[in-house]
Symmetry: C2
Subunit: 643 residues, 2 copies
């Protein structure tokens, strides 16, 4: 009898029918089934959610691509600062709700349809869309499998989703992953980085595939292909100019970040504008768009702004490998009535102003127009405009150099004309890198253009720009977080040895409210009503103060309410309440007063923590949260004045 049961149940746990058992070649079939089972296990071992990552990548690419056709209505602002906040552990409600998805797609399509008039991109919103899809897919996946949700797993997914967002916009998997890591987090695991590459590659591949099927391209190649000279792309002395260009981009980015933050703050605090924004967003948007549109009107001022060009054409023309200054020195090209797709750069030429005038005018106007556009409450990205702005700076300097050294810089007996396109590339990478405080923009520039010959000069320009920008201004995203007053944990910038000597005892919050298990219920009620913390530290007894765990305020209030008022034989204390089903959360991690600031900061960043208790000899002696860490970090860089 036992044998029969064994047969019936099989090794996989499902009953085996007699027909199956006595069918032809049962062994072979069982072997095949076993092999398939083995293969399935192998395939799913590395990460059982690779199909999830692939779905995410492909979906985002589909959306990115189809959005280039549709039109919709206007909703709300960019997503990277909010996502950065969520990834550091804070829960922002509604941000990941799939309901906003349709509206966001529609609104973004509308913004992009306005083309170079409003001059906005799609990176930020795309990251948001991608994260929304990931959160939604995660919920579906969880429901389908019937497993409980897990926060750390969710977080992993969000980091990957951000990478996919960037990768599908530019079809650039490398820089997509690196950029999203640099912008989103301060620590990351190599595991997430691999998963990011996988999803981003799926997304980028799908995106390019669609453009092939749509017969736009012959094959899967870069978006903004350049044709720089490969053998001698630049001369050694030019390195100096590239670094100088980086420094200029750094300085301009500081000015831009300062103005942008100030203006955003002004809009928030100014009575008239903030009222207008609160009551009639469409009106404000329409007004701002009207200003921008009237300036960029091609037959008018737009003539000096090359405003007939789309965002893509702006980049294509700025990365051109000929020198416009040299080409227009003797002959001036005609102002074409229609856009000439073969000679996009004609748009940048004006007989009186020359190309220098147009480029300079473009930079001056776009500087404030971009800041104005940032305040419009529509879903739009600010990365692409910044990238183009940087390319403009680089092109201007490159053309000036080409004119200053018309013979090219002689090295090794060979004369090589200067390519202003290389400077445009370096400028784009340096300026966008400085504004966002990242250096993966250098890699993005290469992935976009398909050429990596300028690797060293571009990287050096980006490093120079970042050195200046990072020491003077918070990044674009951090600036927005500060203005929007989202929670924010700063970095420890000081690497002085002395900073390693600061320990938790120096800065922890000692004024903590603890609830003892032997506290009478009146005391508990008093504490709960007089304070508004979400959680209380539960200690063993008033005397010992030994930390047991935390109890939520909501739970306590409920339990107190449910308590029958008649129930008072003796003095009921908190312990009785807890025995009644009030949930105690265990403390999984605790600091000591001797833990260093660096260690505590690392812990908070890596494990996405909000606050931690500090115990000494088991007694709860304090707590550390973002508030204390922030204070401690700011006192490192600005030591308190001696009293």
């Amino acid at each position: 009898m036992e044998e029969l049961v064994g047969l019936r149940e099989g090794s996989s746990g499902s009953p085996v029918s007699l027909r199956e058992l006595w069918g032809p070649c049962p062994r072979v079939r069982r072997g095949i089934r076993g092999g398939l089972e083995w293969l399935k296990q192998k395939v799913f071992r590395v990460g059982e959610d690779w199909y999830f990552l692939m779905t995410l990548g492909v979906l985002m690419a589909l959306i990115s691509y189809t959005m280039n056709f549709a039109i919709g209505r206007v909703v709300r602002g960019s997503g990277i600062p909010e996502l950065k906040t969520i990834l550091s552990g804070v829960v922002l409600e509604d941000y990941l709700d799939i309901k906003n998805f349709g509206a966001k797609v529609a609104g973004l399509t509308c913004t992009l349809a306005a083309g170079s008039t409003i001059f906005l991109g799609k990176v930020g919103p795309f990251v948001h869309l991608s994260v929304m899809i990931a959160a939604y897919l995660g919920r579906v996946h969880t429901k389908a499998i019937g497993e409980s949700e897990n926060k750390s797993k969710q977080n992993e997914m969000l980091v990957v989703a951000a990478a996919v967002g960037v990768a599908t916009v530019f079809a650039a998997p490398f820089s997509g992953v690196l950029f999203s890591i640099e912008v989103m987090s301060s620590h990351f695991s190599v595991w997430d980085y691999w998963r990011g590459f996988f999803a981003a590659t799926c997304g980028a591949f799908m995106f390019r595939l669609l453009s092939v099927f749509n017969s736009e391209q012959e094959t899967i190649t870069s978006l903004y292909k350049t044709s720089f000279r490969v053998d001698v792309p630049f001369d050694l002395p030019e390195i100096f100019f590239f670094v100088a260009l980086g420094a200029i981009c750094g300085i301009v980015s500081c000015a831009y970040l300062f103005c942008q933050r100030t203006f955003l703050g002004f809009v928030k605090t100014n009575r008239v504008i903030s009222k207008l924004l609160a009551t009639s967003k469409p009106l404000y948007s329409a007004l701002a768009a009207l200003v921008l549109a009237s300036i960029t009107y091609p037959p008018g001022v737009g003539r000096f702004l090359a405003s007939r060009l789309s965002m893509k054409q702006h980049l294509d023309s700025l990365f051109d490998n000929h020198s416009w200054a040299l080409m227009t020195q003797n002959s001036s090209p005609p102002w074409p009535k229609e856009l000439d797709p073969q000679n996009l750069w004609f748009e940048w030429y004006h007989p009186q102003f020359t190309i220098f005038g147009t480029l300079a005018f473009f930079l001056v106007m776009k500087f404030w127009m971009l800041i104005l556009a940032t305040t419009i409450p529509i879903p739009a990205g600010y990365f692409m405009p910044i990238f183009i702005f940087g390319a403009g700076i680089g092109r201007l300097i490159g053309e000036a150099l080409a004119l200053a050294f018309p013979e090219g810089i002689v090295a090794g007996g060979v004369t090589n004309p200067i390519m202003p396109g290389g400077y445009a590339l370096a400028g784009a990478a340096a300026f966008s890198g400085a504004v966002t405080h990242t250096i993966s923009t250098a890699l993005l520039a290469f992935e976009l253009t398909g050429q990596i010959v300028h690797a060293l000069p571009v990287l050096m320009a980006v490093l120079a720009a970042n050195a200046i920008a990072q020491s003077c201004q918070p990044s674009f995203y951090d600036g927005t977080i500060i203005v929007k007053k989202l929670p924010y944990l700063p970095w420890i910038r000081s690497r002085k040895i002395s900073s390693h000597r600061v320990i938790v005892e120096h800065f922890m919050n000692c004024a903590i409210t603890t609830l003892a298990k032997d506290a009478p219920l009146e005391e508990v009620a008093r504490v709960v009503t007089s304070t508004d913390l979400a959680k209380y530290f539960l200690v063993e007894s008033t005397e010992s103060q030994i930390l047991v765990g935390t109890v939520g305020r909501e739970d306590l209030v409920q339990a107190l309410r449910a308590e029958p008022p008649s129930w008072t034989p003796g003095h009921p204390c908190l312990r009785d309440l807890l025995a009644g089903g009030c949930l105690i959360e265990p403390v999984t991690l605790q600091l000591s007063p001797e833990t260093s600031l660096h260690q505590a900061h690392n812990l908070f960043q890596l494990l996405k923590l909000q606050s931690l208790p500090v115990t000494s000899l088991g007694r709860a002696v304090g707590s550390v949260s973002w508030v204390e860490l922030k204070k401690a970090i700011s006192s490192l860089t600005n030591p308190p004045a001696p009293k």
Copy 2:
């Protein structure tokens, strides 16, 4: 009087002389001095050790470059596995000693001078050299400033140094940084990544600068410049072949890793060989080198191995953008008596064997020759040979495809011949990526060649190869760590939700030895003599078991010895001993039984910890170290058989 003191001391703390105070324009001078001080502060704010990073980069480049000229004598093996161990928190003695430096440089030069005979590279040793310099510079820097050494700061430096090592070998800053991160650590901070880029850029720039000054190159360009077709580099259906190539590389890499590990283990355990290695290293090296040299002798078997080519020429020829199969179909090139630098690929052709025979023979022979070379106790890198081997696989498949589809793959009405060079590139990246378990090799391939047109297919090949290799074999470096029995903390590969439910209580070591403050000295002496732990947990009293800190065994033994035997009024206990100057180390971090395995693992990896105490209600209840973590992780993937 107080005023005078104030004047004298000035604001900078140094006394102001009267002459200085009354000299011409004291205000202007003070202003200038203040400005300089401000500039100095600004410059040194972001990272006060940027000059340190620059020195490191420049030094490594100088060494890398000058080494190509010198010859020396033979010393010992590669460095990456050992460095990986150090970075995870273990102290390996002598590894960072600068005394080994000269010997290592000399030995490596000698190895490289042997050229393609021994077929070894310099990445691993270079990382070691770079780390040695960094450790030395760090000590000099610390002494000069007079600050105490700090472990976490040291670790930061080592990660950067590894990046510089890779970057100076290939003059590729991007992939240098990413590769070293992927190989060295499981978590990394964006801050380290920026510093890495800075140092790596300095190194790569210096390296290229030197080759310009040496008139080898016109300007700063890529090492292995390719000239692939830019407009249609590959056709859409070829993506499939690229992924298949990746899968093949993954399978071959598994075979290679398995054979290599087995052979290394065999050499360690085999009596004759291990004795030979222990007593007369030069003899073993000479024997192995003789075998390798006789096989690669160009007029002999070397004829079929293209062994007249150097490592660099191997790559240059394999990345050639023509199809050799198509070119030799009708006419056969002559076997040149001297190497023809314009047509390096002639070396790969043999009238009878054709290029397919030569390539296949090359792969088969190099497979075991490389494994043999790995056991020679000389400082040598194994990355470059693996990279070339992969290029060989790719070339073979690419040529086969070019022959199978001589018309090219028709897409969009245009015929495009297949470029086997692209497959060689993908094969190199995929095979080296699979062997080292990294994907930044894809980026390395682009940085080395200066072209990024194959971005997507190469990345997809690398991902496919990694998927296979990572699920079947430990990486080259981890394998060496396992064979050499260095300490090693594995990753949590299972991403199943159930793995998130494992908590410290399930796997912690409960059998801990605690010393109570009220324990009599005889008890302490008994514990110290009967166990051999380096540290003991100190608890408040035998009864309460509340954790106070740790005491070192050495300190205890010394204190016990110093104790005068006559001193026995009453019962002296451990507390008296501690009062006598025995140092108590505070516990900075403690786990709870409820901490999850993932959290604990993250903590250990991020903070480079060796072991942590587990406390419950302040009582020491257990400890977690690498041993427990390893067991818990292995039981995740191989659940214990039900008893």
